[in-house]
Symmetry: D2
Subunit: 379 residues, 4 copies
């Protein structure tokens, strides 16, 4: 079973770290750290080996891949010895990237995107391709009646006015091309009734959304701790300082609002109430890819006594996200092979804003994922 | 089913907060916060209501209870309005406390302790009494051949030389008196083959040890997070600043060593390897009962990229421990009523250094505890 | 020399803590902690004793003082034993508070304010009264041509439209009444050319603005450290979580902007350049008067090596501000007695946004203040 | 005026970073960051330019310099591009390093050390050589009667038993060779009456001790802040996690004790009392040269209200120390040229445990240093 990974935002930090990292794993230049599906509890022959994944994708920029790799080395995201050893792989990857097509209607654009994906599948002799969105966060789109059903959407897309945000148009195109779609960003992606309808019609699974790589990951284990100990969380306030491409983008209040919302949702889902405080995002160019989050939690215990906890997290966003992209590619490919259709709710472990009515505590999400991996292995 | 709680160290902060807190709950002066067994997933008619628990105990000091309560109010551990409202309850509790007996041999001392416990049971018309050790941490005792079996122990106790540390002598006496025993401290308690033999002979359950109220609690949810994400923890180093009675005692290097050891064990148990770094305990009188812990965790992810997390925890030790003492009293009483004999491994959720071959990740311990609570409810 | 202190916002937390704290000092119920002018380097007979200060003031609310004191006790800002001992003092203070007057024109309102201040001075037989603004932060007012000169201002105030924000109108009234004015808030206060003209005409000194009690205080010693060591600060980003009255008010983006600006100014003044990052203020009701600030500083040293520092500050805003209000009353009174006219630039030590071209490093501000105190002592 | 720098511990991280960094500055590969004497307030033609300094020294190991440089690059202390550009400089430096001589008596060893220093001076045509100790921290030596006077010391050194610890023997040899001596470590160095006597006899200045590069630096600005605000510091407790060569060495309790002591002294010197808490040092190999310190400060303000501050510092020890070594070489050389004899108390700014009765607040130390630099410039 040969598997392709088509990345939306293929010249971005997460995409390049994923593709170069997969090559480094194949070449034995690095170990499994960070890859969840390489843990013995999850791995199985049902999942395509990371070293066999073939990468391609679209990007709105045309930055040469070697320049991007160089900037990741300078930023401390990619070790220099790995980039040096993989020059030929990086050059080959470069040939599989395409500029984003654009046409007079979104329907026509979608069909060009789908054609690029199909060509990638055929030229590389792939059994299947998983499409994963790792591009910058979009603002929340205004509601549109065509979101509600596929017929209305098809008609609207044929018109001159744009209807779908880019992430959703890519999901549409992925489904047209017969590919599972995963949204690693907080953008709309496949999360519209019309797109669900299309996925089901085409017999395709989809997953998302918003990869859980830092502050929210920590929340998803600390909030259950307070709940299990019957401690009442009064305030949970956080600050995220981040640079890099997505940081600049999140400085846009519209995109920021989307993300900050999904970052607090985890608390009410786990605790059953919403503590005071919000999650603040600030762009600091100098921070680069090494995001720093600080959270203050005040809580009260027996007899109402007030206590507090603080944590700070200093993580390399791309290094945390990239292996999860590989995990999601493996899992979505196996789910597709096993005939799964519709939302992959079992992937909640990976996301800030998971699909479906699923647990938000990490340990419960892990149990769900482990059972899913066993089912795939036994399928 | 009327249940007594006999506390070793009954004039200490944890003991007094437990007993006064139970009275406050009965009087409707406070809510359930901090009490784990009051969560709907765990509570059941099989557990004696907190408001029905009757408290008594031993203490080596004779500090008047109202003085102790006053000092807890000053320290911010007990709200003034609660202590004001409960003067009569506190005076009544005072009458149920006894000085620690002492005799020429440890065997004779144990029988005096057991007599006090039996008198407490009879005078208060109790169906059963749970004995809980909340006294100061002891140094690790030197090994003694009499620890290995009950016959050897009985003989040795009859001699003039002391054999057992105080915590173990209290466990011995509790079992003589037909009572379940729980050790909330890192001391020896019931954890000797000879005492296990005695508990089994008397048909009694026991639990322990070392209540998990702060840094280790946090470790037991963060370490699984790193493991589930396949992130390699390189360093986990912590500092605990604490005052109060137990703080002064832990400044003693012997006691300190015992506690610091059990604080790092959780990491190797969960991660499968021991990261660098140790857990340092320092006595700072001014900190009082509000313990401050700070931990640094360095870890590496995909492609070996180094990252870090810090947390600080500012918790009121007695306020965190006291409700767990109430939980343990309820659970041990119900286990006794249900005929359970030997180590209560299902109580691992409460302890830094749990009995038996049990999980150390908090979510797994919770699942174990919830199943146990359901079994008790169904018994 | 008997001195009165007329507080704008006299029923607020800072005002009440100041007045009750002064009474506590007089009664020997507390020590000098927090009062800068009680340090031997600064104190002298030229400064009126804290115990002799007489307090009065205006407030837009009519909350009874004993209720306010009670809420400060509950919040942990005032010790219960102090409030209990000072009931008579608090009742007497209550009689010296007045509702804020309002009239058809601002000129008329100012004259009513001045009349209240004069009446306070006469009824209490005071030699002089210092007016201090401790009310909530105002938004930055729109520019108005009448700000530029006293004649234009007098004419404009006689019109029906309001010209001055409340803080500036109070400064105007204070000067009319012959009183020095100090602004402890970031509001406009006396900082308009027209008001400077009035102060000079009346032969009065004034001081401000924005009391430096937390994060900015720390910045004013850490930034010089980086400068003296020739370390390049790349990012300085901070978050302030605060509740209480001023917290709610600062959630208003307009007021917030004023304060956040003055919080970063200290860095460019000391370092000679503006690092990346901003200072974020967030209202969290549960935090109350105990403000928590967290700052991240990234810096580079020799050979460009990147390093970082974080701090968190958990301070009781009223307890930090109140003694400085007492200090400022003493110093402004002595400056007035010594014939000082115009801006008291030597008070920069106390303020985030000090008047005049003064140093921002705390040690330099201290030297300036100490010299000023010696001059007053020698006058 | 050509100046040599003779380093004790010349193959260690600090020494190599100093020498390579000076070459990088000369080559224009890096800027002045971290070098205090390059600030305009301090620099003058009286100080030898950093680019003109010539380095040599002793080391007990024989690790090849290119290997050491490589390990510093891997550890993130030296940028790869700088080490690549300076291969020839590093090779030349290697030729100026000598093995530590050893002879039957310490007197004879000292004369061999002095001969090596003289040879370095002559072979490189240097006007003067400053000897700086940057080797590992020694345990505190046992007191010896020969420490008290030069005659007794000379006699004792001629015996078979060692009298002086290595740092002091090097100071002795430096003085014999007519060189100023600076101790950057907490070891004994020149701090014995007998060695002072020798320095005075030879007309030489000396400086020290224990370079202030992290936690103590921060203390020296924060402690004055609390003092100037009349806030009472109750607890100041710190933890230092450090790896690298000196880290391993400080794990030795004897050396550790010396360093931890000097780390708390700054507090009592500045505050006038000793807060509770200690400074704990722990070796964590994985941390390497990037030391992490965390401090908790609890303090009380007006009306006794308790508050707290925490900071964590993540600094690269060698990158912080190396430029100070260059500063000290420049200043000691200029002091020697200006005829200064005995302890250079004006260098307190650089040290945790400064010589003489000097201020410990950083701002005061800066003022002392700036005046000293002006005097040298005017000499």
């Amino acid at each position: 079973m040969t598997t392709g990974v088509w990345l939306i935002g293929a010249r971005g930090s997460v995409a390049v770290t994923s593709a170069v990292g997969a090559a480094a794993l194949r070449a034995g230049l690095t170990g499994p750290a960070g890859c969840v599906t390489l843990l013995p509890e999850l791995d199985s022959p049902a999942l395509p080996p990371i070293g066999d994944l073939v990468f391609g994708g679209h990007d709105i920029t045309a930055v040469p891949l070697d320049k991007k790799v160089e900037s990741l080395v300078t930023a401390g995201v990619l070790p220099a010895r790995i980039s040096h050893a993989l020059g030929a792989e990086i050059a080959a990857l470069q040939t599989r990237l395409r500029p984003v097509p654009a046409a007079a209607t979104q329907l026509r654009t979608a069909s060009l995107i789908a054609a690029d994906i199909r060509a990638f599948r055929e030229e590389n002799g792939l059994d299947r391709v998983v499409v994963i969105n790792v591009s910058s966060t979009e603002p929340v789109p205004a509601a549109h009646p065509a979101f509600a059903g596929l017929d209305a959407l098809d008609s609207a897309l044929a018109g001159a006015d744009p209807v779908l945000p880019a992430s959703a148009l890519n999901a549409y195109a992925a489904f047209l091309a017969g590919c599972p779609f995963v949204d690693f960003t907080p953008s709309t992606g496949a999360r519209l009734p019309a797109l669900h309808e299309l996925a089901v019609r085409e017999g395709l699974p989809y997953g998302g959304r918003d990869g859980k790589t830092g502050e929210t990951l920590v929340k998803s284990v600390l909030a259950p701790m307070f709940a299990m100990r019957n401690l009442h969380v009064r305030t949970w306030a956080g600050t995220n300082l981040l640079g890099g491409g997505d940081g600049a983008n999140l400085a846009d209040p519209a995109a920021n609002a989307a993300k900050a919302g999904s970052k607090q949702r985890v608390l009410s889902e786990i605790l059953g109430y919403q503590p005071q405080g919000s999650s603040h995002i600030e762009f600091v160019d100098d921070i680069g890819d090494f995001k720093t989050a600080w959270d203050l939690i005040t809580f009260s215990g027996f007899l109402g006594i007030g206590m507090r906890m603080e944590f700070s997290w200093h993580g390399c966003d791309s290094a945390l996200a990239a292996p999860l992209v590989l995990d999601l590619a493996r899992l979505a490919a196996a789910a597709h092979a096993a005939g799964r259709i519709g939302p992959l709710t079992e992937l909640a472990f990976f996301f800030k804003d998971p699909l479906g009515d699923v647990p938000h505590a990490l340990a419960d999400q892990w149990a769900l994922l482990a059972r899913f991996a066993r089912e795939l292995a036994d399928a």
